[in-house]
């Protein structure tokens, strides 16, 4: 990975590393502070289509998730204190509009009006990053986050974590949804 560092104008000492895979061109953003890190890895809409078509989704429904700006997300606690987050505290800024993330609960609500088979609902639910999670030192999760934007859109992500109860708010700027190649 080719990496570059950008110091953030955040209320904490933190930094964001950006990277681009030379083979695929897919980009990544990694925020870290005091042993806690959040990494966003672009996923292509075609990757999302294939994954969910193999797990019970059908054409129209799979497009809803494939074109919802999905990232593989890795949240790690490599520090020495417990860490918690709630994705309801996170938000994104896109073209001047602040939006919430599409959490498991928001997708579940969407399937109330656009029903999908139970295996598909289960697959999406467990593939998404948990909405609320607590990590002891040494714990981590991989999971998808979705931002509900069209492919190729830019966004700034505001994240909130609590390290041993202390709330940390930071920005991951200039994130870009993967294009629909």
């Amino acid at each position: 990975m080719l990496l570059g560092a950008t110091l953030l104008a955040a209320p904490v000492s933190a930094e964001v590393l950006t990277g681009e895979d030379p083979e695929t061109g897919l980009r990544s953003w990694t925020w870290s502070h005091a042993g806690t890190s959040v990494q966003l890895l672009q996923l292509l809409p075609d990757q999302i289509r294939a994954f969910f078509l193999a797990r019970g989704f059908e054409g129209e429904e799979v497009e809803r998730i494939a074109r919802a700006c999905v990232f593989q997300t890795i949240f790690r606690n490599d520090g020495d204190r417990p860490v918690e987050y709630d994705l309801e505290d996170w938000s994104l800024l896109n073209r001047g509009e602040r939006r919430p993330l599409r959490t498991r609960e928001r997708w579940d609500a969407e399937w109330q009006t656009h029903p999908i088979d139970e295996p598909a609902r289960i697959a999406l639910r467990w593939a998404l990053l948990p909405t609320v999670q607590g990590f002891e030192p040494g714990d981590y999760n991989w999971g998808m986050t979705s931002f509900g934007l069209p492919p190729g859109e830019p966004l700034d992500l505001r994240i909130v974590v609590r390290i041993a109860g202390e709330q940390i708010t930071a920005q991951i700027p200039s994130v870009v949804c993967a294009a629909d190649r």
Binding site: W126, P130, G138, N141
Partner: protein, 175 residues
């Protein structure tokens, strides 16, 4: 027709060169809550009930084939299960939401000697204190959750297994 990208990209959701770095340690569970009972079939059709293992130390791993950290820890978990068997400790892996064929295909590349149970409707996973995969629990001989690990681990690390083995020994009396 739109190009549906290569199988490698589809399956892993990991970028090339994106290594899975294992987590560390086991977290003691305060007050050791009771482990919710279950009755699940393994991929050979045999039913396993948690209550059947009462009196034994049990390691219960919740996983899915599409989850990179789950796949990464399987080989070392299999080696650990063989080591721990000498101490009478059993390992079980509960697959969340997938079918028998998917799991069976997975075992061609990741053969394991411990039972792979199927939680097709994810009801068991939802009854346990799990929010993401993989999550592993260590259940004591009294059927209580003694330890938890969120995210994959390197089960070849001896110190990871020490607290598991310690559960097989009767607690020492207070002086």
């Amino acid at each position: 027709m739109r190009l549906i990208v290569t199988a490698a990209l589809l399956i892993s959701f990991a970028l090339p060169g994106q290594a899975v770095t294992p987590g560390k340690g086991l977290t003691p569970m305060p007050d050791r809550p009771p482990a919710p009972d279950f009755a699940l079939s393994d991929i050979d059709g045999q039913t396993h009930r948690l209550s059947d293992y009462r009196g034994q130390v049990l390691v219960v791993n919740f996983w899915a084939t599409w989850c990179p950290p789950c796949r990464e820890e399987m080989p070392s978990m299999d080696r650990a299960s063989q080591t721990l068997a000498a101490d009478g400790i059993q390992m079980l892996a509960v697959n969340v939401g997938e079918d028998e064929d998917t799991i069976f295909q997975f075992t061609a590349n990741y053969p394991v000697g411990f039972p792979l149970l199927m939680d097709r409707d994810s009801k068991v996973a939802e009854a346990w204190p799990i929010r993401g995969l993989p999550t592993t629990f260590v259940v004591d001989p009294q059927g209580r959750i003694a330890y938890r690990a969120i995210g994959g681990r390197d089960w070849d690390q001896g110190e990871l297994l020490d607290p598991v083995r310690a559960l097989t020994r009767p607690p020492t009396a207070e002086p």
